[in-house]
Assembly symmetry: C2
Amino acid sequence: MQNSRSKPCSCPSLKLREVASMYFTMVAAFLVILVVALQGSAPRQSDFPYKVPLDPQGLLELSWNVSYPEQTVHFQLLIRDLQFGLLFGMSDRGEFENADLAVLWSDGHNSYFGDAWSDAKGELHMDSQQDYQLLGARRAPEGLYLLFRRAFSTCDPKDYLIEDGTVHLIYGFLEKPVHSLQAINISALHGGLQRVQLLKPNISIPELPRDMKTMEITAPDVVIPSQETTYWCYMAELPEGFPKHHIIMYEPVVTAGNEALVHHMEVFQCAAEFDSFPHYNGPCDSKMKPDRLNYCRHVLAAWAMGAQAFYYPEEAGLAFGGPGSSRYLRLEIHYHNPLVFKGRRDSSGIRLYYTATLRPYDAGIMELGLVYTPVMAIPPGEDSFILTGYCTDKCTQLALPAAGIRIFASQLHTHLAGRKVVTVLVRDGRERQVVNADGHYSPHFQEIRMLKEVVAVFPGDELVTTCTYNTEDRSRATVGGFGILEEMCVNYVHYYPQTQLELCKSAVDPGYLHRYFNLVNRFNDEEICMCPQVSVPQQFYSIPWNTFNRDVLKSLYGFAPISMHCNKSSAVRFPGEWEKQPLPSITERLREPVPRCPPAPEPQPAAPVPLNLGQLRR
Amino acid sequence: MQNSRSKPCSCPSLKLREVASMYFTMVAAFLVILVVALQGSAPRQSDFPYKVPLDPQGLLELSWNVSYPEQTVHFQLLIRDLQFGLLFGMSDRGEFENADLAVLWSDGHNSYFGDAWSDAKGELHMDSQQDYQLLGARRAPEGLYLLFRRAFSTCDPKDYLIEDGTVHLIYGFLEKPVHSLQAINISALHGGLQRVQLLKPNISIPELPRDMKTMEITAPDVVIPSQETTYWCYMAELPEGFPKHHIIMYEPVVTAGNEALVHHMEVFQCAAEFDSFPHYNGPCDSKMKPDRLNYCRHVLAAWAMGAQAFYYPEEAGLAFGGPGSSRYLRLEIHYHNPLVFKGRRDSSGIRLYYTATLRPYDAGIMELGLVYTPVMAIPPGEDSFILTGYCTDKCTQLALPAAGIRIFASQLHTHLAGRKVVTVLVRDGRERQVVNADGHYSPHFQEIRMLKEVVAVFPGDELVTTCTYNTEDRSRATVGGFGILEEMCVNYVHYYPQTQLELCKSAVDPGYLHRYFNLVNRFNDEEICMCPQVSVPQQFYSIPWNTFNRDVLKSLYGFAPISMHCNKSSAVRFPGEWEKQPLPSITERLREPVPRCPPAPEPQPAAPVPLNLGQLRR
């Protein structure tokens, strides 16, 4: 009886438990050494390519990087005005309950760092597995830097799983000494939330041409209104006779000091059918705003907090200028000013990088998802109701070139009830690839995201866009439409080469919806007026929402044929029969990825790590 | 910067990886030592209270014990005629694909033991985490004993989760040397499956009275028919004037050598309304069997392979004898003889232990679940369709004593499509406790199971029984009813004190089902004959089963009011209004238990353990 793996060991009399304990002690010792080692050297800026202020005053600043080979995020938190510690973490939608937290706290003498979690009541507990791993702490003139890492997935059910898409970061300041984690009263904390895309794609930057020029579309030194939310509109103009160029990159220009106020910015091109547009510089919702500005809706560039420069793939650029395109641009800036600062001046905007040496392909934008129609509705009081929009094989067969198109970026869009959005590529009835997915989607954080992998779509492929809504706070049905309290389910995909297909969306067949209203009427013995003059929203509003009527509506949407919008522009369909089309049948689903857990020898002791920071309060 | 947990270590220069590797080596060494240690001492019989033959020839015999504190099963496998190894394991329903396996194999010179798994194609892979832990191997005159352990839950997604209820054990013999695990061709193996309840409840045996007597109801030396399946019926008789007694325990009597053939046995009492029953000794399905034997259906005792003695709780016994009860008993034995042995003689049966000193309470049996009616139906081609039967608060309010009843055992029952059965206790709309659950239920393995915990049910409580069916092999709807191709959903619960309530079951309101047939008719433009003379089964058989009709049937069953059977005997209802009753609304579900994973320092190296067994083939 030989064990082929046994080796001479200098400690042969150790028992199992002792070996394990020794092992953990070694890990802990290793950690402390790392902390010491990092006290001296300042992390370089380039180590953390992504940066976002967490609070509106900019007292907390998060920088981070992502290692896909290690499936780990390294965080650097700059705390400018540390008192007795802080909480930093993640939760499903930014709530402080059921959150996964890294906590730095001081009892007035000693400071500790630990991985904790909050329960449904908001009470804090030390996590039995310490997955926020402290790597260093360093005092600098601007504040305290904390450096720590976290695996995407820890396989600890108490921990947040870091996925693609939006992550709701939360933070809170400890303003008094605390003697233990349990003593922290989360409801009394001064704190908040910040949404970011943590897992930025790891894309190599394409080579930029020598003749590249830049153009800044920026606000002309506006005074940010002293109110929480402002959408500011500013009209800009391309030079007369400006020929066709390709935008190949753009980046934000944010006025120093306003990093926490400039929430997102977009540059739109106006419609070519109007020769001129009025100048305007003011709030987008002002009565003074000329109506014609509503015709400036073609997105040229979009940026949101935490995003970096946007690069087009090297084969493609976004055309602007030249005949058939408007010279007028509209810059829209969303200022988020919850502390109601007064008199702040801002000249933020977007810097476009463009070239006259046109790349091989024009990039295009295509709209996937649901048609804006009330026939697609969500009952009230649902915590996660799903609606699905299809781009069918018949439409892609007709509209896409044989060589296919390449989707390289995506912007998801819903109104206020949206909670998740996913688009999946289906070929021959089998789900093949996720185009873009956001399981923590927020309507308050809509950015154009580069895809980690370019998705090739060929004639005959199907694109299925699924939106999940929460209507728990509503007392009547939410129908599809343009209004802020109506809903949308859209994925704007950015692709090349540009095709005529601008819109590939669906909605349930209205005749089948009519049968549903009839059926509900007969089954429930209730009078729902189905007179022809009653609108679809009115019919939805009059439904008594019992479980049967809810379930059957779901079944209807999963069964009834669809009306397809396979359009060249928003009003012009490709020729063909698009009514009462069969629902794509999907015979094979993509499997949920099984999270990779950290390799076995990485957990850390379930005890706080003491830090030698002196007394925290300076 | 101090680490409070650091200790002096004699190997201070070891790096992390070395410590980890040393640790694993130590675990492996420890294992080998254990194997050696156990070679000498024979495990005692009492260490393994449960025993079952795995194959019909009895070449493989499994004994086991269960440690609830450690959440672990210890297995002892006796291999009487070892050739080049064997496979033993578990899978969802006894298939060799997607199975979790312990494998002993020999290349002709050396033998190895390892934890493996088979993929969907039946190919074997070494498991990266070794959770079948070999504890010993010992040669004895009767064969080779292998001793190994397995945690209930390993938190390895490739592993089977050992839960309450039926476990499908599989085994296979290696008849040729194999050079690696991957070389094993699972489809060519000689093997099979055996169903057992692995997690037997850990119940303390009540004290037995001194005046206890025994009575054996056994087959009178029958010749087991040389066919795979036989249900044998034998009529027995209590002595004339036999007064009321309490059965307080019973156990199987299995003829030596027939352990692998006697699959299950039941003793039924006949109906009291007939003065006498004919004698009979022969197959239950024989044309010679007198019809009157169909009135012998009241279960007195039931045993299935792997089960031990059945004890009534010390406050209760099952009444038999005395006025108002039949003197006639029917013994039914299911012989499972797949190798078609000829001329085997058998005198198996059940030994009843009874007392004239009546215990405080008579035990009773109550039937929960669905009424046997075609209105409850399962569409064809469903992989897991759920039907639910209710025992409502209104019925328990009326029929149960204020002090409640105690359920101590349960026998689940469906016909051939049944795959899972669960009964849950609901109080004030909240699920409180699982009464009995079998997530791997098989209609071929129905035994009375003692509950781990006695369940108290009070007036106003609700009992919800849910059955899951698979009809993938059927082309038309399966309706409720008595036929073998119709379905049932029943939980016979054993409880005390006995009440008048014999049956507390439900079915959907027939009027609402009629509305469903109407709705399907109108929605699908199909003609389903709803003439009054057409039976409910015929209407179900004529439905075109698209996803909408399936979904809406589910919605109907989840919404429509029910007809309650709250009965004193199968035909006599308690007084009250029992039609069109509201469905119980359940506002809070029991949480799925989170499996406890083995503590961190237990995984073993992902390499086979070499065994020194000499050459296996003797």
